[in-house]
Structure formats: structure tokens, C-alpha cells
Subunit: 375 residues, 2 copies
Amino acid sequence: MEEKIQTLWEEVRELSLGVTPIDRLHAPPTPLQFLRDYISPNKPCIISNAIHHWPATTLWPSTSYLLHTLSSSAVSLHLTPIGRADSLTPHPTTPSSLCFASAHVQSTPFDEALMFIRNSNQHSKFVAYLQQQNDCFRSEYSSLAADCESDIHWASEAIGCLPEAVNLWIGNHLSETSFHKDHYENIYAVITGEKHFLLLPPTDVHRMYIRDYPAAHYIYSQDTGEFALELDDPVRYVPWCSVNPYPSPENKEKEVSKFPLFFEGPKPFEVTVNAGEILYLPSMWFHHVRQTPDGSGLTIALNYWYDMPFDIKYAYFNFLQSIHYSSPLHTPTLDGLKHEESCSYACTCNSMKELNAKTYPASEDATDGLNNSMS
Amino acid sequence: MEEKIQTLWEEVRELSLGVTPIDRLHAPPTPLQFLRDYISPNKPCIISNAIHHWPATTLWPSTSYLLHTLSSSAVSLHLTPIGRADSLTPHPTTPSSLCFASAHVQSTPFDEALMFIRNSNQHSKFVAYLQQQNDCFRSEYSSLAADCESDIHWASEAIGCLPEAVNLWIGNHLSETSFHKDHYENIYAVITGEKHFLLLPPTDVHRMYIRDYPAAHYIYSQDTGEFALELDDPVRYVPWCSVNPYPSPENKEKEVSKFPLFFEGPKPFEVTVNAGEILYLPSMWFHHVRQTPDGSGLTIALNYWYDMPFDIKYAYFNFLQSIHYSSPLHTPTLDGLKHEESCSYACTCNSMKELNAKTYPASEDATDGLNNSMS
């Protein structure tokens, strides 16, 4: 079975994706082209020159415009110790295991929030990130509405509906989003700065080592300037990708031996989305996101979530995910020797049930059981 | 694994296809609708009122028009003993096993061919069928070109190319095509009479019991009025569906016990395509075809084969097909008792190789290894 799954990884690349970099279109596609060449085959692409007519592309790189427009209106600011929200971190009571940690979220005046983001660095008490995947652009940031289009017309026409959510992201170089997938067609527009994506197709699901992790959340104390990490009460579990694609040098060997299917399999597609470009991030693709800020220290992006088709591709994905992949793991033991261990595992997070429970997720584009549904 | 595959059968029906009959559109869709709602999700539909503007719909039901236009021009006539070409029949030398039998094909003046078809019945020496899947409408039948459109414009625009082949079918009530699938998007227009399709999605591949059968061909002797069945030389094998969905009453129990996944699983979608209607038969769907003639004793249809996308869906299909399904079979034994027998089987007919070898197939819409490629 393992060989058959590996053949699938290869066939998807050979038949559909190609081994060359992701397609970069130099103008928006027609709805028909977009549907035929990208949505239907579930294939990402970058579209240049797609948003140059938006006022946002000239206005937003100037923080004075944003400060003037949003002023001290309240926005939801996410605080984490080192920039990784919605990611795995040592469990608060049993640090030898991991939990899924959500950011501390606090309502903050926009001008103050922006200052926090720009001041966030390795030495600051926290890393601040404006990100809220609850259609925030059309609520908290509605005063910016005229600066962008309310939908991406060629995508709306191709998909046959308007976006279900539009989300704004303002972060700096420390903000990072761990590997996950979304149950949405995602049109991701970068206004200023750059976003760096690692992408893997849904067929690579076993390479992500999705496991159920206990949910926890950071609590930041302004008095002490320190974070506490608390388990959610009642306890809930979030299925999440175990792989960190950029382990620290001292952890690298251990991570590679824990997740050989990721590190030793086909490389993720690496994509940098520049200011003024759009990434079409197809539904169910695994993605990891980092960013490079512009001269003012910020990366600003807007993403449009469209309903995905729950069709034969989705049924195939669920089938694939239900299959056990026996991965030989090299696990260090107390006596320093390495023993082969077979980890037979089937992902459990997707099912017909989640369709009924789908609501807005909480992580960067994440619907994987956050806040609501799948755990 | 068997349960997981069965869940896939159910999910495709629940998510994508629905349990109600196939969609019947009352006018041609726009290219975008057709692509979004049918091609991309790999979902069949019937389109009424799509060809009423073709001269063929009024001209062809009159055999005098066809006889006048084609006169005695040579056409490829297929002769079989009982109307089943490209289907399984007892092996000529070891009748306890089966072979894949192709029709006797002879170049015949059209007027004579039409007479043979109309005179074919249970008591005649052969059943005649005009069917040739080699783009015959644009070659043998080019004098009829003005009676139909050279392509289906909304399909061509959706798919992004012109048809690779256009094939004409003229048969009577005895002509039947056994279960198989094609590597084409198929637009099937019925001009006169009715076509009755049984349809199963590609996810049901294990229910078809595809096996490699030795290829054979009928040879009809005009002198004796009898058929001989000869194995192809050199020997070649054709992967073909083992299931006959309409077994004779005396064979029914045996067939049901041999192919429980078909007979005991979800029922095929039953579709009758009436004169003036088009069936969109998605690529890789298994289909079985029978027909009811019009008042003049003929069923006439035209089908347009368009290139299919070899994308993630195709890769998923190949993966599914590569998986063994251990089916418990109840096999009667000599002492009259039934023993459980495990038949572990993986289909072998599809691979990357067949993409390179794809040419026109020989059966009704069949690309499964015929004449060329996959065996």
C-alpha cells in the first residue's frame, strides 16, 4: 500500500502539476480559463497584474493612511511568544508531548496594534499579528472596503458565488503559519511585502502526519509581560499537521527521523507571492506561510475564501486519508540505540460530519477542527 | 480496506451525484455552467432541446434520405451472432473460460448495410451494427456532415478544444454494448430512437471485476452463414469488465454469486436518452448501452469524443484501481456445497503507459486496451 500511495504522489506531479514552478499568469484569467486550468484540476497558480487598479496597492504601504483611516478603532490582535499562532508547542503540563496553541486575542485600538506589530522582534515580549479568519475585512476593517474589490470577479464567476469570507492579514517577518489545509478555494492577494508559501497537494496527506492534539491557548498578562499556556476547558482535540518544515539545526536530525515521508519525499512547491500578486491556493492543499515585510516593516494581505466543491475529488481525498500508512520511524530510545517502530496511522479529521459542522475557522485559513467542528 | 472503498462509493453518491436521477437540463448550459457543474465534478447530465436545430433530427428518421445521400458508398459494418460486439463470450478452445470477442467487420455498401441492420433479429444469421470508433462520421459518413454541427460549441468552449473524434452509430434493438469506460469526455447525441445507459462512477471500479481476457474476433463466412471465433495472433489480452448487468434467468444466481459487489452494491444510474437529447457521459464512467429503435427499426446516434483532463482525479482513480479488493465469493462446488473463497484482485489496465499509447479504440466508446495500447 505504501508504494501505491507513493506512486500517487508522483502521478499527481507528473500528470497535473509538473515539476516546474507554479504557473505565473501575467494577467487575470477568464473565468472559463481559471475554472478549466486551475480550479477543476485543483492546481495552484500565481496571477500578476491582477490588483494594480486597487487603491489599496498605493494607499496601504503608507502606514499614515491606515492610521488615519482606522485610527483607534478596535481590532482583534493576536499575541504569541515568538510569532507562531495556531501551531504545535510543548504541552503545558507534560512538555514531552505537544499541544495545539492558539494565540492570545485582545481587542486593541488599531494604531496601538500597528505599533505592536512593527515593534515585534526576537527580543520583544510578544509577537503581534493582525489576523482573524472570521470575515474580518468586512467587519472590523470595513472602513477600508473602498480600497479593494469586494470580490475577485473572475473567480466569483468561475466558482459561481461570492466569497464566503474576506480576511485581512497584517504582520511582520516573525509571523508564521504552520502547515494545514482549508476547505475553501482561496484567492490570496498580497498588498505590500511578500508571502512565502510551501505547498503540497492533498494527495500528500500522509506526509503531513496529521494527529489529534489537545487544544490550548496563550494568555498574555500585561502585568507580568509573560505568557501562560492553558489547555482548553472542556478538553478538545484538534487534528493538525505535525511537520515543521524549518526545524532548528539542533532539532533537524530528530525531526527528519520522525517525519521521513515529509523530509525524504518530493519537495514542497515553494512560492513567493509579491506585492500586487494573487495566489490561487486550491482547496485542500497543505500550506505553510512565512512573510517578508516591506520598508515600513509590514506585510499586508487580503484573502477571499470561496466555497469549495465537495465533489468526487473530495470523496477521493477522504478515501485516501482513511488509509493507514505504515511508516517506519526511527525513534531514539533511552539507551541511545535506534529501534524500528511501525506507526500505523490513519487521519481521522475529515468525514461527512465535518461538512455539517463547517463554520469559520480560527487559524490562518484553517478549518481543521478549530473552534468548532472537526475534533 | 473493503469498508473504506464502500464508503467511497457512498460518499461520491451523497456528496456529488445525489441519489435522484441524473440532471436533465432543458436547454444547453453555458460553457462555464457545463464546466463547473458537470465536467469538473465528473458528473453526467442529459440536455434536452440541444440539437433540434440540426437538419439530422428531421432528415435521418427517413431512411430514404440516408439511402439517397449515402447510396452505395462503402461503410464498415460490424457483424456478430447475437448483437454483442466487444464483449465477453466463451473461449473458442476452452469454453469454460471467457475471451473478449470483437465483431466481424466488413466493408459493405451503405444501402445493403442498412437492410442488414433492419433485418437483424433473433432468427437471422447475424446482427448487423454500423459502429466504428475511428472518427467515422468525418470520414465514411462525410456526406452527412452538413446535417449536424461539427462540434458541440458549449462543450468545445468548456473543454478548450475541438472533438478528437466524431462517431456515428446505426443499430437496432439487438445491438448492445457491454460495460466499459473511456478516456474521453463524451457528448452523446441521439438522433432517432432511444439509447438506454447504465452508468457507474469511476469510484466503483472494483464492482466491475475488470480482468484481462484473451482477445478474439469473429469471422463470418458468407458461404456457410456461420461465425467462427478466432483468437488474435499474436495473443494479446484486453482488460474488460466481467459484469453482465442483465444475465439470463438461468444464469442469474451464478452471476450474482460471482459478482456480488456489482449486484449487491448501489444500483447503476439508469438513463434513457431520447431522440433530440444529448447525454454528457463523463470520462472514466462505466457504461452499458442498449437501444430502442424508432418506427423504421433504427436507432441513430452521434457521439463527440473530447480529450479528457489527466489531472488529480485521474491520478486518484489509478490509485484506487491499484488497490486490492478482497471479495468473498460464494462458489458452487461439485458436491453442491458452497465454500467461501477470497478473490484478491487489483485491476491492471491503467497506468502512465497507456497515456503514451492512447489511440482510437475499437469498441463502443472503448479505450480499454483495444486494438492498440493497454494490454
